[in-house]
Subunit: 296 residues, 2 copies
């Protein structure tokens, strides 16, 4: 079974309470607790030797851990509020833990978040497994889901893609929180972030909306020196993909007020096999993993 089908099979094991608007499968779960806002919840982890090099300073791994979770909240159109930390590390050193927590605390200040709890345990071998659960909120009319793209919508992307690992972007990126808030409700209610690779995440986006997707490889914004194939598959970009109806596209492009964040129209959602992508016939992807597949 491929990763998509297997994780869907796992998710199907869980029955969902009535207060769960969106369960596993989007960037965050969405809970309707009867408040004016909806509650968002997600979890993500980083592991030494997998998500960063083993000698990475704790301030960088901690920052990455928090910001990749903030990126999930951004993709729902929401704001982050609270976090829980779960750390399994070895050696269990006070100096390492202190630097790590200071970095998380600094990032939390920026986003108005509180770390409300955590667990620290010793790992059985040298290394780090760092997990963070994030809570957030989003106004009902701003909620953005992967399943909300419509036939004919343009696919837009923030920023640029590729070479996240060697450029250091994967440790220093800024989650597109302000951009997500600007977009949500006004220009889109269909958004997701790119962590596993532009192509793979765009496929998921289209599949969730029951649509096919035409991508324009010439329009994909690339980090300096990066090929289209790498831009499509490298991953860890932490940019936003979002669907905009053609009637709103001009106003979006006129009013986009984030000079340091690119805005690119890279494709269009179309009727067709859900998740099927066209337009890449001239791109040689034969040597590339078309996404990060944990089960390969």
């Amino acid at each position: 079974m491929n990763e998509e089908n297997f994780t869907a099979a796992l998710a199907a094991l869980f029955s969902q309470r009535q207060d769960v608007l969106t369960g596993p499968g989007d960037d965050c779960a969405v809970l309707d607790l009867g408040l004016p806002v909806l509650l968002l919840a997600a979890v993500d982890q980083v592991i030494s030797g997998v998500h960063y090099l083993p000698d990475c300073p704790p301030a960088l791994s901690g920052g990455k851990l928090l910001r990749r979770n903030v990126s999930d909240i951004a993709a729902m159109g929401g704001v982050p509020t609270h976090a829980l930390l779960s750390l399994a590390v070895n050696p269990l050193e006070e100096s390492w833990l202190l630097q790590f927590h200071k970095a998380i605390a600094e990032e939390c200040e920026k986003y108005g978040m509180s770390v409300i709890g955590g667990d620290i345990a010793k790992l059985f071998t040298q290394g780090e497994v760092l997990s963070l659960s994030i809570l957030g909120t989003v106004e009902r009319d701003k909620l953005c889901l992967r399943s909300n793209a419509c036939e004919g919508d343009w696919l837009y992307a923030t920023g640029c893609f590729g070479n996240s690992f060697y450029s250091g972007h994967h440790l220093t990126f800024h989650p597109r929180l302000a951009e997500g808030r600007f977009l949500a409700g006004r220009f889109t209610n269909a958004m997701q972030d790119v962590s596993d690779g532009l192509l793979k995440d765009a496929c998921r986006f289209a599949a969730s909306s029951g649509l096919a997707l035409h991508l324009d490889p010439d329009k994909i914004p690339l980090r300096r020196g990066v090929s289209v194939a790498h831009g499509l598959t490298d991953g860890e970009d932490y940019e936003l993909l979002f669907a905009v109806s053609p009637e709103k596209a001009d106003e979006l492009e006129r009013s986009w007020n984030f000079p340091e964040t690119g805005l690119s129209r890279i494709g269009q959602f179309q009727k067709g096999t859900p998740g099927h992508v066209t337009g890449l016939e001239q791109v040689d992807l034969s040597k590339f993993n078309t996404g990060y597949d944990h089960f390969k």
Copy 2:
């Protein structure tokens, strides 16, 4: 620095939002989002070779992971509602993952909970790091905090203590959810669960309430064949400790309706150095860790 002081120093790094009634340091964080009920949130992990033997079937490690988090909700007087899973495992096998998730799903059914999201990644070496974040709710008048014990309150405990590991209790225990709900608001608003050892957790309880504690070692309920010293220090009991005012004690003992769960009056909160324990002068604890200290 000892573990208590160090974790307090880490927690002090984080400023808390106004909606955080209780931050790090209790069994759960408590959020006041403006709902009739308060929101509870906690995270806990289990690690192969640390919290269970490496060849433990996934159904047992999964059950333990969920139930030790449910125990944290029980200790607040609340009910569990939602969970997020974060798994770092190697090998990454479909059959293992399926059994693990099925076990979690079965347990969730029992408690009326939903798993609303998760992350699965490959660990860099053989083994398992399994983390679960739990959400729950509690009525405002039922909320139980470690800091709410009063001078003169009796200390009660559910169940019995000691030898959790070799007896298998640490894998098969039932979190005291029904008992916690029965107690909360009616007989107590001061409760915590015992995971790190009765003595250590009782010390924490008293310290949080700014009180000393007198323990009666003859009254501590012990698992068959267990010495008082082991009962005080073994840990992983997942029982509840709670404070009851003397006026309510008789009614509590008369109305206790959990025939399979013992109820024992084991001590009394007293004026004195916060967290100082008396009454154990005849118990030889010299060869025992008086609690599980991750930093030793």
